[in-house]
Structure formats: structure tokens, C-alpha cells
Subunit: 378 residues, 4 copies
Amino acid sequence: MGGNSFGTLFMVTTFGESHGPGCGALVDGCPAGLTLGIEDIARELRRRRPGGSGPFSARNEADQPEILSGVFEGKTLGTPIAILVRNQNQRSGDYDELKDLYRPGHGDWTWEAKYGIRDHRGGGRSSGRETVGRVAAGAVAKTFLSRGGILIRAWTSAAAGIQAPEPGETGFDYEEAGQNPLGVPHREIAEKIFEKLEKLKKEGDSAGGVVTCMVTGLPPGLGDPVFGKLDARIAAAMVSIGAVKGVELGKGFSAASCLGSNNNDEPIPVRIGEGPSLGGLPWELPLGIPALAFKTNHAGGVLGGISTGAPLEFRVAFKPVPSISKKQCTVDRQNTVRDLVIHGRHDVCLVPRAIPVVEAMTALVLADLILLNRGARV
Amino acid sequence: MGGNSFGTLFMVTTFGESHGPGCGALVDGCPAGLTLGIEDIARELRRRRPGGSGPFSARNEADQPEILSGVFEGKTLGTPIAILVRNQNQRSGDYDELKDLYRPGHGDWTWEAKYGIRDHRGGGRSSGRETVGRVAAGAVAKTFLSRGGILIRAWTSAAAGIQAPEPGETGFDYEEAGQNPLGVPHREIAEKIFEKLEKLKKEGDSAGGVVTCMVTGLPPGLGDPVFGKLDARIAAAMVSIGAVKGVELGKGFSAASCLGSNNNDEPIPVRIGEGPSLGGLPWELPLGIPALAFKTNHAGGVLGGISTGAPLEFRVAFKPVPSISKKQCTVDRQNTVRDLVIHGRHDVCLVPRAIPVVEAMTALVLADLILLNRGARV
Amino acid sequence: MGGNSFGTLFMVTTFGESHGPGCGALVDGCPAGLTLGIEDIARELRRRRPGGSGPFSARNEADQPEILSGVFEGKTLGTPIAILVRNQNQRSGDYDELKDLYRPGHGDWTWEAKYGIRDHRGGGRSSGRETVGRVAAGAVAKTFLSRGGILIRAWTSAAAGIQAPEPGETGFDYEEAGQNPLGVPHREIAEKIFEKLEKLKKEGDSAGGVVTCMVTGLPPGLGDPVFGKLDARIAAAMVSIGAVKGVELGKGFSAASCLGSNNNDEPIPVRIGEGPSLGGLPWELPLGIPALAFKTNHAGGVLGGISTGAPLEFRVAFKPVPSISKKQCTVDRQNTVRDLVIHGRHDVCLVPRAIPVVEAMTALVLADLILLNRGARV
Amino acid sequence: MGGNSFGTLFMVTTFGESHGPGCGALVDGCPAGLTLGIEDIARELRRRRPGGSGPFSARNEADQPEILSGVFEGKTLGTPIAILVRNQNQRSGDYDELKDLYRPGHGDWTWEAKYGIRDHRGGGRSSGRETVGRVAAGAVAKTFLSRGGILIRAWTSAAAGIQAPEPGETGFDYEEAGQNPLGVPHREIAEKIFEKLEKLKKEGDSAGGVVTCMVTGLPPGLGDPVFGKLDARIAAAMVSIGAVKGVELGKGFSAASCLGSNNNDEPIPVRIGEGPSLGGLPWELPLGIPALAFKTNHAGGVLGGISTGAPLEFRVAFKPVPSISKKQCTVDRQNTVRDLVIHGRHDVCLVPRAIPVVEAMTALVLADLILLNRGARV
């Protein structure tokens, strides 16, 4: 297990180097009988494509997926679903000068220190292109989740040091996030960030940012204590995305300076389907267990590692894109110090393109937990 | 797999309810031939015991471990190492009134929503006592790591809203962290926090905090891209600890507002054993790969999910202890709103006792990765 | 993962050396809400105890199990169930002379060749005593299965070269198998085998044999193609038992010389609960799928790796006990040829004591597959 | 995990339905730096292709593999190796009449009973075509093993009820097995079997057989007790192949009627590289452990679940091909009894084509164990 698999029952293995023949994913364990079409996958892949203009990479590939197995007459068979996306727009020549250089902020050297070999073209497997497989597999998981009314929504909550409003704050507009190329839930702030990114592009620099994700419709009971907690899985899933440097659930780091009396979320009784439920969807509970909601959701929808039924909320921090065209100092294979100016087609900020990746990884965690949860009780 | 196992090759399963017969861990995959004594485990367990005074829980157990298997004449056999710690000082009666109540901030209700049953006494398996198994197993991993010169050091970097200095900042004193009961690397700040916690105890309230962890001596090359990244595993390990709400690697969330040009760590050539290496320990690299260090360590010792040889650095946010004696509102099993005042023996802030747990989980991640890494090259 | 775990969802890890403090098992993933008492486990453990007389080992231990976790007020919690059986009647001195010798037919040398160390006392972990953990864990699985009407029955179908009748043959009497100490389903043949074993004991020799196992009440649909087939899992489970040298499903090796036209089992339609069903228990099928039985059961209850609902049938071959008191030739740690006469308390034939182990392993396979099967369809 | 993965460190997942777009395998965990070319895979795939004449299926596909990832400039990268073989010669129309029928001896109905859906064309994923992925992945494993001098050789030791000589018996000729289309190590017997199969073809019937496999050059120490034994893994690997009904290691079922005194293999001291070693290849042992061989090899190269260094030997029983053109009785989807005469292109005996599959599965087991074994000692 070279670390390219994720999940226990809904198990995904991704494959592919940035400039090899193709990228993709193999999903083993997707339940049989799910209606799944190629467009379910293609739609998500389009969301992660670069815009091809502005502060985004000019590499522009159609990324048309092919389902090689596991689907018959529009339904999943219960067998492995192999999805292949051919690489098309590789300009490997762009990377020739990087063959013997270790780029700052990239995994070039650590990869070689581990394996003794790497495909230097476009970062090989440590390229952002690796997320094609994640998004394709996540699309299958999303299709499965949507049957149960589970909705995953992520957006850019900060980029280039500029904050967007959070849900509940003035001006937060989730619809807007789907309409601007930055995925920012506030039009003016999106424009401000866009300008900042364009400026950075001219300066040959780059920016990081934060993605916030919220999942609604989640039934209570998902997550396996002790090590298999819902939030532990989310954390692993998020930090497994390249460039992620932090994750927080609910109030996150700010909870560390709260008092217990203002951080605890007090339970309130609900009838399912009624009242102030922060969950909102009908779900079944074991006999004799009352349905609860909570006055607040500082916990971000998880208690004891198990979903509460309130929205799952977390934030993910991305570092700035390490590929910058400003001159940097580095070392080459001959152990000589070298100046480096990176050319090629790079995003100034990868946060907007990371949104579907965050959603995909979230979907993979949840699809797996839903299946695992079927074994919780006799 | 109910989620109680951690690791692939160095695999640990913990067991035990807070007020059942005992707690412990089963370590499968510890390499044979490791010198391991009961004191290696007992020492770590003493570090997680409550102080029994001041702002700490008065529950005070000897926590004497017994090795049931896997060790012969002071050496590991390569067979499963079962470690048992009997529970002794249970005052289950303290919990009778909680039998039908769902405490705010605890997993009481989510546990029932999942399993339809729970051991209410002391939180059952979602109790902090579950960490006995983690710390015992972590002690085995630490013993394995220490052979290779790998040192794991964690401390309290913030508690009750009061920050301690970071390494490199004025006044940071790691030795001091081992001498005060709060694990704070600065004597005056430790005293200030202690006073604040005593005050909160009187008020019936509680506090959270932050643990920082630094690992030195780590060879480069540990971590399996894509999903098995070193940092992704650390994130999962940390968030699997009860009460953790966030984790950040290296610069973490602050990296999100940096520019690429000031966040990238520029490589510098080193001869192993010489010069400004942030790693410091001798390690072997594949033929033809130069040894590198980095001018800075914003990445926290990980690039592309693989260790760089520089210190691994991360921070973990803990929410306030949810058990407070202030009056709270909650719901009972009959779906009735109830007032709740929690008695019993609780910590005001669990951060100091979480230090050995953070270290143990880190050790488990690293021991596993060291074994996994043996398969990286032909 | 040192290979001491079995199962994916109903996951068991066993631990313990023959002459260490104790043996046992950790069951992670047993569904919550199962009624489980200590006697459910103790009963199975008594079945694997040596008779202490006749051709059986004189080592006689009470083998009283203790449940350390996972059960509360007589019901499983969904948390790990740790079961400990203390070793009591160790006469380690018996083994002193074997410390530096490699016994023929045992794993003494291979163990050292792998780990560089072994606990020589009684074979350490490669002792038959290791099956204590399997039987204890299997008892939990059996309790789970019995809720669904699934019955596992194994017996001695051959020992010391003497065959007992198979089901359907004249004289086969399953009740009898439970009444003679050899587990043979035919009284006179049991006596004949007993005499042969007593004779071998006097000669200082030993015998092998065959265990047949039949499972009734199994629903159709269990087993995961491709690698996770029901029969593949049974084969792994059986060959994982010490001394097993072969396994066959249904007609087994004799199928290899049949024609397709007489080996195929022709399907017949049934109404569930009616008619000539070889299965017999009510089970649910997906909508639109007819209920079938089969005219014959040459397949042994498995087609395409999935249970058919007909009885699961397989046979397991055990080699003769390798510990014999006849003089043998071997090699010692100093690489010198040595004569060896093994003393100590050994069974002449382990087949009767293997019956509950075969049943336990079968139960572990089936419990796991029943949980895995819950994820087969949307 | 729908059961389509095999192995822990050298992990393979296969995919593909018989008449879908393609079949293949994803190998995750192959060590980096292995020289691997497309021809290494293509060569093994040619061995499993039907002869297209005589008693073999007339379906004849080029089966040209494509490596989609994981190999760069002729060397493995340590990343997942995805191998795709397009399906070409599907005549799905052949199967139209089988759409609503459950063929005797096939998994048609059990598959539907589990998943509620199946791809009926050519058996879908329960087709023999599924072994394309196994053979492709096995080719990677074989390439890895051959570096260490490990050779896997399988042949047809019985078919249609006719036995071929075993190694050591008069007339056994391994070279011959590679030259006749049946893989029988004796020319005249091969011809006799061929005639018998042609006769069965005319009669519309089919035959089973036995494959024997021998591995030389295996170092001692491979295999993880307790559940991860070398022989247990081999058993699982073999029985996971469609149509396999039994497996025996070494003397197998005949050991069950032996005495301990004639079944035990007595150890003899060797200097590595010298004398009567049944192993033959140089290997390293832990310090202080003598090198051993054995006077006989009844154990088939495994003791205590760990390789002894002597050849690994086992036999695998295949049932007759269930697709016969003789009239059979079955049931259809409407639960009606139906007569069935199967047309289409089927092998009369699949044993010869199973030889490379047996070898591939053996290679997968061994490659995984070699990597796992790297973690056995500190």
C-alpha cells in the first residue's frame, strides 16, 4: 500500500502522473444499484479545471472521463469503477530545466530522498493534476450521498489575506460563490481578491487562502470512535490535499481560548422534521433514543467523533502556490546552489480550484462512514 | 473494524471503558529484538496521570501496566504486545445521575444515536481514560524511535487564553515545561495560567488550550503520498484525540495569508552531519541524491507529504473541558429539558495531561511510517 | 500488522505466548446490542481443552476467560471486546532442553530465521495454545451468527488413517460426534480410532486427520468477489490454523476428475421456507430475484465466491502432531546435528481439539461477511 | 472494499467486466526503481490467452496492455501502476439468451442475490476474463521477484481424470510443460489428455484438473504468523481463482493419514550456497541463526506459516468448466424451470490457461510478503 488508497468500504485508489498517459481513480466498494452517468463525473471535473485566464494556469484540458468498468446500463454493479482521464495538454518541455533542480516549496527533493527516482515533468504524481482522480471518485461518492439528501458545499473564505464573510455574517451569499471564478461568497470581496491576485501575478508571486466547507443533511451517528472519528477522517482527508497546512472543525483554534460555559452546545429536544433542528433531514434513531438538536454548533457537527446531525463545518488552510516566477535560490542534483526562475503555467492561487477537491474528499469520507455505520448495531 | 485501530504495519488497537475492568492496547507489528521493559511504559503512563490537586482531577490511579504478551527476556518477539492497565479508582456512583442525561459537549447522545447503547459511567469509552491505551502503545513506539535518535517533544503553548513563547522567542525554555505541572515552557506564564485555572475552577468553568509538538532527528523520506502523507497522518492522529478541534503544520493557518515568496523554504546543500542542518541526525539517502537542509522551516518539516529532515512541527487546539459545574441546560432520555450541574472529579483544563497523548500519537505515526518506508525502494 | 489480525469489519487480533502471562483476543467491530455472557465464551473454550487422558495432552488448564471491555450489563457496546485467559499450568522446565534445538515439523527455526528471537517455551506463539484467542473470539462471532439461525457444525471425519462416514452415508451420526472425545460421528469408528491412537502413543508416534465442517442457515449473497470470495476466506482461515495442510470446498479435489455434466448443481425454484431447499432459513432477496435451491450441492454452498443458501461444506486436512517421543535427528543453534527425544505433554492427534478451532474460524469469516454484505447495495 | 483488492504492501486491485470497455489492474506499493517494460506484462498475458483451437475457446484477443501510470523511463516510480487491457473480441450477442437465465455452476444467481444486478454478458466480472488483471499485476510482481532469483513454475498435473507424473517421478519433464498447449510435463500424457478433451468437446461436456506449483529460490522467513501465514495466503490466493475447489500444501491431504515419524522433515545443517540445500539461493539470516536445510520436504516449504527455504509446493484443484453444450435444467428470472443448451466459445478445460493465473497469484503473495518481512526486525 503505497498510500494511494483512501477509505475502508468505499475504497478509492487514485493513479497517474501529471505528464504520463492519464490520471484516474478506481472505486472499489460503491454499492450496487446506484444510478451513475458519465456526466455526474464530467461535471465535477469541469469545476476543478483551470480557468485559463486571469490569475489561473493556462493549461486547459478537456478532462473527459471514461468509465472503464463497474457501470452497466447506467447503474453501478457493485464491482470496481475504474475512471480514466487522458492527459492531453502536457507541455513537458516546460519542465526540462527543472529535471535536476529541487524547487522550493515542492516535494521534488523529498520525493527523490524517498524513492530515488521521480518523474520531474510537472511534478509527476505530486502535481495538482493528481486531484483529477480524487474529484472523479468524489463525484461517485457525491452521487451516492445525494440520494440521502446530503449536500456538501465549500467556498473560498479567504484568499491573498482578504477575508470573506462567514455564514451568518452580513453579505454572505453562497449562490454568489458559484458565480465568480474565485468561489468567494461575496461579489465585491471576490473582485478585490481578483485584483490582488492579478497584481501578484505581475509581481511573479503567489497567494494562499482558506476554504470553508459545510455539509447539511448528515444523519447523526456517523464516525467510528476512537481512531476512526468523523473529524479525524476529515482532517486526514483535508491535509492529504497538496498545499494544505491546517484544518479546524467548528470553532477550531478559537475554541482553545474559550471557556467551557460558552463553548458547549446545549442540546434541545426536537421532533424529527420539526422546529429548530440544525440538521433538518429525516433520519432514523435506535429505539428509545430521543431526537436532539443543539442551540449552537460550536462543535461543527461532531461530538465524540460522531456526527450530531447539525451541519458539519470545517476550514482548510492552503499555503501559497510554491511555483513563483520571482528569482529563488535552490540546490541542484549536483549539490550546487542555483538561482531559479520558474516559468510555465501556474495558478497564482489554487484555492478556487481546490473547492471541488475539498468537496470530493469530504464525500469520500462520508460515503465510507455511511457504509461502515451499517455495521454499528446487530 | 470499529475504528479502534491505528496504523498499518505498527498497528495499535486500544480497548477499555472508563469504569470497566481495565484499559489497554494491543500492538501488532512491533519489530522483534527491541529492548523493552515495563518501566518504559509505566514512565509514560505516569506523565498522563492527573496531578490530583490544583486544577486537576482528583481521580488518582496508580496505572501500573502489565505486559501480557510479546516480550520475552526483555526483548520484543515480533508477536502482539498486549498491555493491560486495571481500572482501580472508579467511583461509578458519581455518574448515576448522568445515566439518562446527555451532557453538553460530550459524546453521550451521539454515542447512543449510533450504537443504541452506552456505558454512561465516566463517559465509557469516550472518556479521557481511553488515552491510557494510546500512551502505553505510544511508549512502545517511542522506545523503537529512540533507537534511531528520533525525539518527540510536546508542550503547552497556550491555555486559558494565555500564550507561552514559541521556540526562538524570548523566554522559551523547554526544560521548564518538564518542571511545572502545566507543561508550559516559561515559568512565569505557567504560574499565570495556573492562577487563571484555579479561578475558573472556583467559578465552575473550564478552559482549552494549544499543544505544540516538535520532532527532531527524523530522517527525510517518511510519508506516503498521496493519501498516506506524513502530515495527513499526523492530522488524523491529533484530531482522533478527544477535544481536539484543529491542527496546523508548520506555519499553518498563517501560511494562508503569506506570499509564496516569503513562505517557500529555500534549500541549502549540506554534508550530512555538518553545518546548518535543521535535521541534525545522520541518515542515508538513495545513491546520487544530495543531502539538503532548508534556510527556514515554514513547512514544518514536510514537503509533498514527505519528511524533509527538518524538525516536524505542528500545533493542536483543544477545546475547553466540557464537564463544568456551572448550571447547564440539556435533554434527558425521555426527551425532556433538564438542568444539569456536573459534579465529580474533572480537570479544569486537560491540555497538560494531553501532552503525553500528543507525543504518543506522534510516535505511533512515525513508527508506522518508518516500517512502511522500508518498502519504498527495490 | 504482524499478521495477528483477521477480518475487516468484525476484526479479531489474538495475542499470547504459550508460557507467557496469558492468551486472548481483541474483537473490534462486533455490533452493539448483542447479548453476550462470559459463559458463551467459556463454553467454547472448554471444548478445546485437552482431555487430560488417553491420547491427549495432560496439560490441563481451567482456561477461565475474563472480558476486560466492550460488554456492559450483558450487552455488547460496539467497542472492542478484550478477552483474557491467564496461562496457569505451564511447566516451562519441560522445554529447557529445546531452547537451542530446532524440533522437526515445528516452526522453531523458521521463527528464528524471521525474527532472530523466539520464546522457546512450549513453542511460544506458534503453540496450539494460540488457538485460545481464536476460540474466544469465535465464540463472540458464533453468538452473533446464532441470532440469525446460522449453525456451524464440525467433526472428525478421519483420523490416524481411519475414515468415518460422511453425511448421507450409512452410520453418520452427528449427535454421536458430540459424545465421544474424538468428535467422530460414528461410535464404533470412534473406538477404533481411539485404540489406534493409544497404540501410537505407546510407540511414541502421532497421527493426523481430517475435520469436516458444515454450516446451515447461511443466507445467499455472502462473499465478496473477486479476492474476498467466501471460499477464499474459508481457505485462508483454515490454513491459518497450525498443522493444516489442505482444504477443499464441496467435492474438492474429486471435482477435478469429474465432468461438467455431473459436477454442475442444477437450480430449482423454491418458495422461501418451502420445499427441497438445501438452505432452509428465511432470508431476503433483492426485489425481482427469484429464490433458488439446487438439486445437488457439489459446489459446497458457494458459486462465484458467493454463498448459494445451500449448506457450506468443506474439509480440512491436519498433519500428524510433529512432537513425537520417537528419536529424531535435528540441528541445534550451534549448527550441530543432534538426536532428539521429545518429552512433555503432547496430544497424539490434535484433530479432536481442532474441531472448535475450525468452527471458530468459520464463525469469524461469516460474521465479517455478514457485516460486509450490508454495504453491497444502495 | 468490495473484495477486489489483494495484498497489504504490494496491493493490487483488479477491475473490468468481460464485455465492458476493458480490464486491468492497479498496483499500489510496488517499490521504486524496478526496471519494468510493457513486454514483461504482455508476455504473461499471452500465456493466458486461449489457443483458439482444439479444446480451447475461440475468443481470441490481442490483449495488448497499456501502462497508464507509475513507470517513467523504464523504471517504476513507487506510484500506482495502472495497467489497462481493452476488450476487443466481445460477441455479447452470444449471451442474449442468458440474460434472464441462471446457468448451472456459474455465479449468475448468487451475484444477483447479492447485488440485485449483474452484467450478464459473458459472466460480467465473474468471467475468466477477470484474470487479465491478475496476470498483468502478477507480471509486475514476478519482475520484482526475479531480481531476487525467485522462480515460480506451475504446470498441469492432472486433467480430465488423467494424471501426469510429479517431480521426481519417471518421465516428469518441466520443459515439456512449456511446449505443449496443455502445460503437461510429459508429452505422451499431454497427447492423451488432448484426445480426451477433444472427445469431451464433441460430447458437449467439460473437464477439470489440477495445477501444481513450485517456487524455488525463496528465502526463509517469509510469512506472518498467525493469520498471515505464507500458506494461508497461498490458500486464499488460489481459492480466489474462479473454479478452484481445493488446495493442498506439501503432502496435503495425504499427510492426514501419515504418522508423525514419517511426515516430519528432519533438519540438516548447511553452509549457505553449499551441499544438499533444497533452497539453493543465498539469503541472509539474523546473526547467530544457523542455516538449515531439510532431508525431505513433506511440508512443502512452510513451517509455522513461515518459509523454510526449501521449495514452496502446492496443488490446486479446478472443477470442470461449468459451461457445457449438453442440455441442462435451470431456472429463469421469472422463477420458471427452463432447459438450457449453452452455445458460445468456451474452453473444455480451463486448467492450461489457469497456469499463468496460479503463477500470478503466487507472485502477488510473495512480493507482498517480501515487503512485509522488511519490518520483522528492528
